[in-house]
Amino acid sequence: MNTLRQFGSKVRVPALSIFVALLIGALFLVFTDIEVLGMLLSDPLGALALGFGRAASSYSALFRGAFGDPANFSKALASGDVQLWARALRPIVESVVASVPLIFVGLGVSVAFRTGIFNIGGAGQFAMGAVGGAVAALVFGAGVIPAPIAILLMMFFGLLGGALWAFLPGLLKARVGASEVITTIMLNFIASQLIFFLVSNVEFIQKPPRIQPVSKELSQFVDLPGILPIASLRLDISIIVALISAVAVSWFLFRSTRGFELRAAGLNIAAAKYAGMGASTSIITAMLISGAISGLGGALVAVGTVKQLSPGIAGSVGFTAIAIALVGGTRPSGVVATALVFGLLQHGGSLMQVETSIPIEMLLFIQALVIAFIAAPDLTLGILKNPFRRRQVKAAK
């Protein structure tokens, strides 16, 4: 009972933040609908009914996209046919697939946050991990090397690519105090230009007719094994690697000496220095680990999920990861749980975009709101508690 209450108090603010953000998102949907705005003066009630009706159907598409259509589930239950089951389960499985990059980058960003570094270069580190993984897949996946070893090498080079991209901002922060906010953002831009260059100029990487700026089909070189019994559902071992990474990060941060030093540096760098812990080393280590995890994710996603390297591979994963790290309290378990929720939103959002042509960019707005609510707990709790608190005060008097 007690643990349940503890769990409740931990989850309350994040859950409320996401819920309120979605509500504000609905208002945003209503008031950016030109037809509704046009009707608002002549027929305000009708306009609002139309607006909220549309918002409701958008959100219903979002939920069907995230969890699956209940109608499909009942059909699958009734017949038991594998094909129908695959169809019913596909949305939720795809949501989990969408959460894999978020888990990796969310974990990576969390390690940096814990050390007091605001690493907003998750996207660049993820992208460079994808480069490392893709190149390794092209080199080692040609058939000579057995598949499991090729997969390991691919993961290793992804790790390396991400770590390399995070090393520079870490070094600059530690040695000259250069703001990581600017350096990591610049490296994000440079990473995507670099990928653009690689996939449009390098014959070894670019897809054969060499017209589009994309890489060769990576699954022909390294194929990540799936983990679900139904072959048409694409959930591969990357989710397992993601969960193992979460456990490893958790152990590292909370059970190892080095992790303690990182957290100490994050809490009070002056005190950590005074206690004889190398602040520079902590910063560089944190950035290396942070980048390595994001890079590992980049390699697995590029090779396993997207199966291609393209300039837009990272998308808005860096931003989403910040929201996830903060909502998850920069705690690995929290990050995994939040990443799953955001994965649901992400995949649900893509169905919403298809069905109701609401741009998926709306999720960025929701993420910004969620970050604001989480970072200002007083604001969030104010929304939740105020009416009750006043009553309690009165009762006490």
Binding site: S179, I182, T183, L187, Q193, S200, Y274, L364, L369, I371
Partner: protein, 424 residues
């Protein structure tokens, strides 16, 4: 407090040691640059680079001339050599920042000459596009300076540029009045900035996180609004562009007239703003209080300055400036607003703030250097020079990275920028 005192006591010797180390590293880097430019000089002997200028007006009479590339690079080599030497002799006291500021225009120019590869570059275009790129970055940097001088770390310039660009374009399209664009952009920027200040001051949200909220929200909202409204109803995204103006008499000056006196009114406005705020920050009571609030807010509070109110006001001014700068992006060209149209200029502005050491004029100078780099990139990619466009496109970001790294060196930010203030 005691912890702070301890670090100061600990820091002194370490700081001096670090500065000496940093100046040695800088000297080494300058020596390396000297060697590289020496190599470029010798490898380009006899190569001529062709330039031209418009003498009377944009697109007017051409004034062609050529410069030997090895001469330019010889100059670069010499200056780099001297910089390395002085840096080594004078150590940490050497004014390397100024030296880099002075050499970088020549360096960009020499790089441009080396890369031209037989084609002719029009320098009037080069200089005017330098100046026009410097507008959003320079004014954005000014926004950063005003905010950070007051003690609020303003990393949300990028977001405000985006909002300013979108709102400016919509306002100008709806009203059909050209001046409505910059005004609406500035006002919306102020509104966003006020929200940011509210999060940071009222709720003490970490200022970097609060800025990130704005930056992410700006990308989300503006892209969303673009796809949902501006694209299907394109009448909302057909702003009245702000045209260049010919300043009477001055624009008649040969060569200089077309470069300096036939520009967008934005440019003259920006220069005016930079001068105005330099005066305000260093020469007025408001400026003194602003700087005090950013350096030692508790002391400012003790002598009766309302630090909270002052920071709110500074943030509103910063928002006005950033929104105004943003509106330039969508109103100066013909395209109106586009997704992510600010392309990192807000972050480059932050780099200019650092390179300009929180001084508006120096920061504007730094944004001119960024402007030159970008102008050179655009010019070269327009001429179809051999380098792949992706490398050219990433040059401004690489330059920013190098500047922020400060070629190994620290500048002192306002001491309390980023710390919330408790008005006890």
């Amino acid at each position: 407090m005691s912890v702070n005192a301890a670090t100061v006591a600990l820091g002194d010797g370490a700081e001096a040691h670090q500065q000496l180390f940093a100046s040695r590293v800088r000297a080494g880097l300058f020596a390396l640059f000297t060697l590289i430019s020496l190599w470029i000089t010798t490898s380009s002997s006899g190569v001529q680079s062709n330039f031209s200028l418009w003498s009377d007006k944009i697109g007017g009479t051409n004034l062609p001339f050529s410069v030997p590339v090895d001469l330019l690079w010889g100059g670069v080599t010499l200056i780099f050599g001297l910089m390395g030497l002085f840096q080594f002799i004078r150590g940490a006291a050497f004014k390397w920042r100024l030296a880099i500021g002075l050499i970088s225009p020549l360096l960009v120019f020499a790089l441009l000459a080396r890369l031209l590869d037989g084609t002719t570059a029009n320098l009037t275009v080069f200089f005017t596009s330098t100046l026009s790129f410097a507008i959003p970055v320079g004014v954005g940097a000014l926004a950063g300076i005003v905010a950070e001088r007051s003690g609020f770390l303003n990393i949300a310039i990028e977001g405000k540029l985006l909002f300013g660009a979108m709102v400016g374009s919509i306002a100008s399209s709806i009203t059909g009045i050209a001046i409505a664009g910059p005004i609406a952009g500035a006002l919306f920027g102020a509104l966003v900035s006020l929200f940011l200040a509210w999060l940071g001051i009222r709720y003490k949200v970490d200022q970097i996180i609060a800025g990130t909220v704005i930056n992410i929200g700006a990308v989300g909202i503006t892209s969303f609004a673009y796809l949902r409204i501006l694209q299907p109803y394109s009448e909302f995204n057909r702003p009245i562009g702000i045209d260049t103006i010919q300043i009477p008499l001055l624009s008649e000056i040969p060569v200089l007239g077309p470069i300096l006196f036939s520009l967008s009114p934005y440019f003259y406005g920006s220069v005016g703003l930079v001068l105005f705020f330099t005066y305000m920050i260093y020469r007025t009571r408001w400026g003194l209080r602003l700087r005090a609030a950013g350096e030692q807010p508790s002391a400012a509070g003790t002598v009766g300055v309302d630090v909270v109110k002052l920071r709110y006001r500074a943030m509103i001014i910063a928002g006005l400036l950033a929104g105004f700068a943003g509106s330039f992006i969508s109103l100066s060209g013909t395209g109106g607003f586009g997704i992510n149209t600010s392309a990192g200029k807000g972050f480059i502005a932050l780099a200019a703030v650092i390179f300009g050491a929180w001084n508006p004029i120096f920061a504007f100078g730094a944004s001119l250097v960024f402007g030159m780099a970008t102008a050179a990139t655009t010019l070269l990619s327009g001429l179809g020079v051999g380098l792949p466009p992706q490398i050219l496109l990433s040059i401004p970001y690489v330059v920013t990275l190098i500047v922020v790294a400060g070629l190994i060196g620290r500048v002192r930010a306002p001491a309390s920028a980023g710390r919330p203030y408790d008005q006890g």
